[in-house]
């Protein structure tokens, strides 16, 4: 059955990214005046951000990185904004090169942004151009989630199950605004539980989801009911959290205390974000990402001043959680799993406790930033899975 499309609602506006010069000039003044820390003993990444790498990175940002060139590339996608409730939602919408493209909503996490999907968007809209099978193609919608990048939070935000509220905003965007009665959703990091929430709350509209991890909420599962492999995975996750999870502890307890430095100092922001990209990617950081890519993502936080609202989301969701390990996704669910993602690859039976797993792929390479690190294999896998979904 062809997918019905109504006229796009009137609140939709074309949007072009255009960071004011005054913001860029101010940024360069700050970068030039960076007051470096006196690092502890040896350099390297043992104590967190590598001080030498940070210096090299900041210097590149200040002298070589060309935001206007990146901005121009970003603007090659069609960007829009639309008013939904009190939010002015930013999103990319690229139409698929097929008779009846499948509408897909791609959901990012933290500390990435809509830029997570920069490379995979054309592979999904026009698979043939990327030497991918072209039985299906997608209409791709990539929003900046509420409080991230170009989707700023209004002054008053709901504090009751904020992720459930985000799910309703995304649902309204896809249905009321864009006129897709049915669609599919993919996401990783925070995008995974958000995709699951949409599947749970809007089972008629959401035909299938593709996620890269089971979501943090499943960590609340009672360990005593787990099998041996599952227990090993859960314990490894807990251990990794104690070693690498302090960023999340800060963000779930005292995000505002941290926000002052991150919004005032580009070196602070770069350091906080790079640390995660370094630890969660497969291989050396610059094998997985170029400095231009890393900086483009950081610039999305810096220029919009949304780092405070993005980290605040951790605490807000923890105070009023949307999902628990008792929630179950009945919607057909695909898992695309990458070996160097946080905690490694979960056992299938573990994920089956909380989702109707219909498709399971373990990739050979890649880390937490899946679609960014391994766009081609992931696009191929998404095409494979979603071609089995009936609309």
């Amino acid at each position: 059955m062809p997918i019905m499309k109504t006229e796009i609602a009137s609140s939709v506006q074309r949007f072009t990214i255009n960071i004011p010069d005054v913001v860029l000039n101010d940024l360069h003044r700050r970068l030039s005046n960076t007051r470096w820390m006196n690092p502890l003993e040896s350099a390297g990444w043992k104590h967190g951000i590598n001080p030498d790498y940070l210096k090299e990175f900041i210097s590149y940002w200040n002298t070589t990185f060309n935001w206007r060139a990146q901005e121009k590339k970003l603007n090659q996608f069609k960007h829009f904004t639309a008013d939904v409730e009190d939010y002015n939602l930013h999103f990319i919408r690229e139409k698929g090169n097929a008779a009846a493209p499948i509408p897909i909503l791609l959901l990012h996490g933290w500390p990435d942004s809509f830029y997570r999907f920069n490379k995979i968007i054309p592979m999904l809209t026009n698979p043939a151009a990327s030497n991918l099978p072209n039985e299906i193609a997608f209409d791709v919608i990539v929003p900046s989630l509420p409080g991230f990048g170009f989707t700023r939070c209004p002054r008053q935000v709901t504090q009751h199950q904020p992720m459930r509220h985000s799910a309703s905003l995304m649902f309204k965007l896809m249905t009321d605004v864009l006129g897709y009665p049915n669609f599919v959703v993919a996401g990783g990091d925070g995008g995974s539980p958000l995709a699951q929430t949409m599947a749970i709350d809007y089972p008629e509209a959401v035909k299938a989801i593709y996620i890269n991890d089971p979501g943090w909420h499943v960590q609340g599962v009672d360990l005593s009911i787990l099998g041996k492999r599952e227990k090993k995975y859960a314990e490894k996750g807990k251990q990794e959290f104690m070693q690498q999870g302090a960023y999340a502890m800060v963000q779930t307890t005292k995000p505002q205390t941290l926000a002052y430095a991150l919004n005032d100092s580009p070196a602070a922001l770069a350091s906080w974000i790079l640390d995660r990209f370094y630890f969660w990617c497969d291989g050396d950081i610059e094998e997985s990402f170029t400095k231009d890519e890393l900086l483009t993502n950081i610039m999305i936080y810096w220029s919009t001043q949304t780092i405070a609202s993005s980290i605040r989301a951790y605490k807000m969701e923890t105070l009023s959680p949307t999902l628990t390990s008792n929630d179950y996704v009945k919607t057909p669910t695909a898992l695309g799993l990458f070996p160097k993602d946080i905690g490694g690859v979960p056992p299938r039976e573990f994920v089956e406790r909380t989702a109707n797993v219909q498709h399971w792929t373990e990739f050979e390479r890649g880390g937490h930033f899946t679609a960014w690190e391994q766009p081609q294999p992931m696009a191929a896998d998404m095409l494979k899975f979603f071609s089995t979904i009936k609309f």
Binding site: L40, T253, T257, A261, A268, A308, K315
Partner: protein, 387 residues
């Protein structure tokens, strides 16, 4: 070991640079009406920053700090800054006071006169102390340690400072926070010289090994500690696991540093929701400025890193077994109402020869600044028995 006089004199360029940064602060937003629930409150930090820019006078505070005699000495390759104020009284008892994080030697600024000249505060000359207040390695004017694990050697440096450098054969010691950890080690390792110790908490290291015979009060205390770890301990986890990741920013943004430190003065003191119930803006800013101008944020995180690395857990585990019930040095405790939960005496008695136990209704983690008179009285009363 040559002792040299030291005079605090922050370069003008550092002051000018600070003011430039403050003037250009780029403020984040905050959740409406969230108070201090999400961390340091925006409105208060703006107020404090405005004061920092317009009214606060570092030079005036520096002059005040320089009224105490400051010294530096290098012990085993580690440069130590310390204040040493001798009492005019004969037979004054030497005491070494050890601070923690995020305070500094300033933690004890109000105690100095009360202990060196008790008669000026309604006390007796015979209760006088010679006061020694070092800066921990990597804090303020003490050089940064050049190898990991320095936390586990500070007590040895202190013992050498008191005996070899200052020629005190017998002395007493007091501390809180990291100061409590170090004071305890000092008593255990140098009991020949340490006549007694006084603490405002039992070091959290002891909670790393939970005994299976806890009393009801101890169980309740552990619950409080565990709750605290869930809500308020993230700072220690990030400082211990990824110190550079945070320090890079706090070294570049003065409001970032102020927010990070201020939150602790708010949440760990008995300030009843308004930090200025307990501290003046000048007090808060002088302490923050010390971290800023000496660029010691990363090195001040080193003790947290030490605790989580270099096999520290194994080391602590072994030490705790050795320590249990073996301490002979008399120990006094003053527990201030808003500090570290309901610490039961029996918990302290597992590790210390407890000779004095006082609970005080008011005051918090920074008791020496919040309730200096009450703490000075505790020190005077307890150590009178050990002179």
């Amino acid at each position: 070991m040559e002792v040299t006089h030291f005079h605090i004199d922050i370069p003008e360029s550092s002051l000018t640079d600070l003011h430039e940064r403050l003037r250009h602060t780029r403020w984040p937003d905050e959740l409406n009406n969230s108070g201090w629930e999400y961390g340091t409150n925006l409105a208060y930090l703006k107020e404090l920053t405005q004061y920092w820019q317009q009214d606060y006078d570092w030079r005036e505070n520096e002059r005040r700090l320089n009224e105490w005699p400051h010294y530096k000495v290098t012990i085993d390759g580690q440069e130590i800054h310390f204040i040493h104020v001798r009492s005019k009284a004969q037979d004054a008892l030497p005491i070494i006071l050890t601070h923690g994080w995020p305070d500094s030697f300033l933690r004890f600024e109000k105690l100095i006169a009360m202990l060196t000249e008790p008669e000026s505060f309604g006390g007796d000359t015979s209760d006088s102390f010679d006061v020694v207040i070092p800066s921990l390695p990597g804090f303020a004017f003490s050089s940064a340690p050049d190898s990991p694990g320095s936390l586990f050697n500070v007590h040895n440096l202190w013992a050498k400072l008191m005996t070899d450098v200052l020629r005190y054969d017998k002395f007493v010691a007091h501390g809180g926070d990291w100061g409590s950890v170090i004071t305890e080690h000092l008593a255990r390792s140098h009991s020949r010289h340490v006549a007694g110790i006084h603490l405002t908490d039992v070091s959290f290291l002891h909670t790393f090994q939970k005994p299976n015979d806890l009393t009801e009060a101890e169980k309740k205390y552990f619950e409080e500690i565990e709750r605290y770890q869930m809500t308020d301990n993230a700072y220690a986890m990030i400082q211990g696991t990824r110190p550079h990741t945070l320090a890079a920013g706090l070294s570049d943004s003065p409001v970032g540093l102020a927010a990070w430190i201020l939150e602790k003065f708010y949440s760990m003191s008995d300030c009843d929701g308004h930090v200025e119930n307990r501290f003046t803006k000048d007090q808060l800013l002088t302490n923050i400025s010390l971290y800023w101008h000496t660029r010691t944020v990363p090195s001040s995180f080193a003790p947290y890193f030490d605790i989580l690395h270099a096999n520290a857990f194994t080391w602590i585990g072994e030490k705790i077994k050795e320590w249990a019930g073996t301490s002979s040095v008399p120990a006094g405790f003053a527990l201030f109402g808003k500090d570290n939960g309901h610490l039961p005496r029996e918990w302290a008695e597992r590790f210390f020869n407890v000779q004095r136990w006082t609970t005080l209704p008011h005051g918090g983690h920074f008791a020496a600044l919040e309730e200096p008179k009450a703490l000075a009285n505790e020190l005077i009363e307890f150590f009178r028995t050990l002179r």
